[in-house]
Amino acid sequence: MTTTEAPPKKEYRQTPLKRVLAFLRNTWRGLTSMRTALVLLFLLALAAMPGALLPQRNLNVAKTDEYIAAHGWWGELLDRTQFFEVYGSVWFSAIYILLMVSLIGCLAPRSLDYAKAMRAKPVLTPRKLARMPHHLSTTTDRTPEAVMKDTHALLKGWRRVEREEADGVRSISAERGYLRETGNLVFHFGMLGLIIFFALGKLFGYEGQVIVQADDSQWCNSGILGYDTFNAGLRVDGTDLNPFCIRLKDFEARYTEAGQANYYHSNMEYQSGEDLKTGAWKPYGLEVNSPLRTAGDRVYLLNFGYSPKFTVTFPDGTVRTNLTPWRPADEPTKLSEGATKIDQPGITDPIERRTRQLAITGLLAPTAFMHGNVLTSSRPEAKKPAVAIDIYRGDLGLDAGRGQSIFQIDQSLVEDGRLKKLTRQNLDQGQETVLDDGTKVRFDGVGEWVAIQVSHDPVQDWVLVCAVAMLIGLAGSLLVKRRRVWVRVTPGRDGEPGTVIEVAGLARTDQAGYGEEFQRISGKLVQGQRGN
């Protein structure tokens, strides 16, 4: 039935330049359309989700590696496609950047429209007010002038304009709720700012963790090497960190009957700025919810643990005391594990030294409770500390140039036979054991260490400012109603009384509730009451 004809050839020549321009224009239009924004929002939500469900490397490396190992090729694939660094991945960033471009493309024209609308007068009063969703018409004895005056008084706070129409008819066109669009723009600009500052914070910020003994030990923010772990922003190389020093005097934790922590406090001192020159220290009470803020950095109390104190007396009479942090293996009871590594002093020959190094590894219980022969801890406080340890002698591999965990010995050295186990012992506080060569190892009790984090984000205050702007803008955008009222006053014929008042209303946003408001306003108008 239908025959299709070839479309007529276009008359004008498509130069490559024009084609490129058209393509760019269409892409831009597409990208900044509401529908694209919607799809991008969806993609953003979807893309953010895996980060909640899969382990993330920046939060937990060990768990991530475990997951990859446990899931074979699937884990490998996820790893290669950046599912374990979702928020730094190429695809997440792409969505984020497209959304930002879309946002800019959407905001620019809207801001122009907004500027125009702010200067524009309310629209002309329509000829047929009865066609409006809300309408009321009545006759009154009052004069047109009086009605107009009352109407102006009643609609105070509305943007309104009075117009003369033919035959002495006058009308007022009023509108209010402009704050809705203001709020909406403030919200979207706030979000744009937030996205930008968030990204800047990631570039110029850093975060580092370090364990410090709470026995007057001092730690200074002098470089990356001072940290146990350090996450630098892309533009941070660690050469010019804000200098400051801290000294942890003590640490106190309190617990409930049930063994739940309810108080952590570390008395500390710090030095920054001028104080570094004068050597003055300022005191501060470091707690979980109140970080130290100094020199543009923040210092947080993250966690605490115990360091067993061992005193080793070597056969030649030299004595070494060591306090090495052990890490909690079980947080609720602070049963800890770790490795204390000791060099015998006074041995200069490196080869001999490497046969005489000592390692003490095992478990530390702050409140010891023997479960048969197994050491456990019944409470997190150091009420009755005890250790269950293996003592090794030989080469600890400390000179091998390989980084080593401070909490473990290198098991491959044990397998090689370069590190030999001498004994296994359970020691209460004050007890000691004697090794084959007469070396005495005494367990003297525990000290506390505190894990602190130093965070630096030069723009986080601006993120907050943007977020607050967003919130205020959002409230305006959602709660302000945009609405119009028109009033037309027609004088009675030939100067007779009998002024006709017509009122009409239109809600410009899809909110219910204007009906009631309109009734209230129009009722007052008709009765000649003033004020809202």
Binding site: L44, T256, Q260, N289, Q453, D457, L474, D510
Partner: protein, 323 residues
């Protein structure tokens, strides 16, 4: 201060009784919905109301003429009313469960997952009571109570936590501000979720009256359901936004960063973006109506997921003590 075991015990009794009465109210509401003329009448009435309420672009209707249909009070309606009364009673017990918990532990009663769930379901019920006053939807109470009762059951069995003080990280006035905003936001969000599900039924029925012939015809007009969903969403969204914002401020003080993509933060972000998409969809041609309703339901799912499963499935910083 020590925990007051007696008050905590009374709180548990109140909670259980409230849940049991909700179940009865649920059944009463289902009877009214299933057998009552109210459902149909209310649907017709709401059709009319919605015609009066349409704003820009609607047909030209002059002022209100609230024509009440003749009241026809049958047995199902009476049962429906009793159901509503029971609902109020159960809500009061629910409230007392929360208050007693707070008195027992001398702190804001939302320091662990169980308490959080208890407060959130309470907010959902209160929101529904308010909606019931403004819209003729009493007979739909069962559909709200169904998720409420399920959540309360899961909460009271799997997530139950004995009364205890909170760990140091939670000892902050931000607990009160941030968590209460999250609770109000999530609780209110349950209502638009349910309204949007019903909207889909009603819209399907409107498109093809053979579909859900019995059920769909007794629902309020699609327009009314849409309005309920929209109004509750725009109420909850800024509160939820405020809650997330306070969470970031608190995290800055407690965890060393204001945002770190912790699982709970992430899912809150996802839910927030989905609700933003919902608001956008209502301003986008071709996305109003059914698609908007579906987006709202997705947001609702994200909220539920965030309330319970994130804490159970993943191990983030947010896992409350005993949660």
């Amino acid at each position: 201060m020590p925990i007051n075991e007696t008050l905590s015990q009374y709180s548990d009794y109140s909670y259980t009784t409230a849940a049991a009465i909700y179940v009865i109210a649920l059944m009463f509401a289902l009877i009214e919905q299933g057998f009552g003329a109210k459902g149909r009448l209310a649907a017709e009435r709401s059709m009319q109301r919605s015609r009066e309420l349409v704003g820009a672009g609607g047909p030209p209707v002059t002022t209100m003429t609230p024509a009440e249909p003749p009241r026809e009070i049958g047995r199902p309606e009476r049962i429906g009313r009793m159901g509503a009364a029971l609902l109020v009673l159960a809500a009061l017990l629910h409230l007392s469960a929360i208050v007693l918990r707070g008195l027992a532990v001398h702190r804001a009663p939302w320091g662990n997952l169980y308490e959080y769930g208890m407060a959130t379901t309470f907010i959902a019920v209160v929101t529904w009571l308010v909606i019931m006053r403004k819209f003729p939807v009493r007979h739909l109470s069962g559909f709200l109570l169904l998720p409420v009762v399920i959540l309360m059951f899961v909460n009271g069995t799997m997530l139950y936590t004995t009364a205890a003080p909170v760990q140091p990280a939670l000892q902050s006035y931000w607990l009160v501000i941030h968590v209460s905003a999250a609770i109000i936001g999530s609780g209110v969000f349950l209502v638009p979720g349910v309204a949007s599900v019903l909207y889909l039924f009603r819209a399907a029925h409107d498109d093809d009256p053979a579909k859900f012939a019995k059920f769909g015809s007794k629902l309020p007009a699609a327009d009314v359901l849409d309005r309920i969903a929209y109004r509750t969403t725009i109420f909850a969204f800024p509160i939820f936004t405020f809650g997330v914002l306070c969470g970031a401020v608190w995290a800055e003080a407690a965890w060393g960063r204001f945002w770190g993509w912790d699982p709970k933060e992430t899912v809150a972000f996802v839910a927030w973006v989905v609700y933003a998409a919902y608001l956008h969809s209502r301003a986008t041609a071709g996305w109003r109506g059914k698609r908007a309703a579906i987006i709202n339901i997705v947001g609702f799912s994200a909220t539920i997921f965030n309330m319970f499963f994130v804490n159970l499935v993943t191990s983030g910083l947010h896992s409350y003590a005993g949660g």
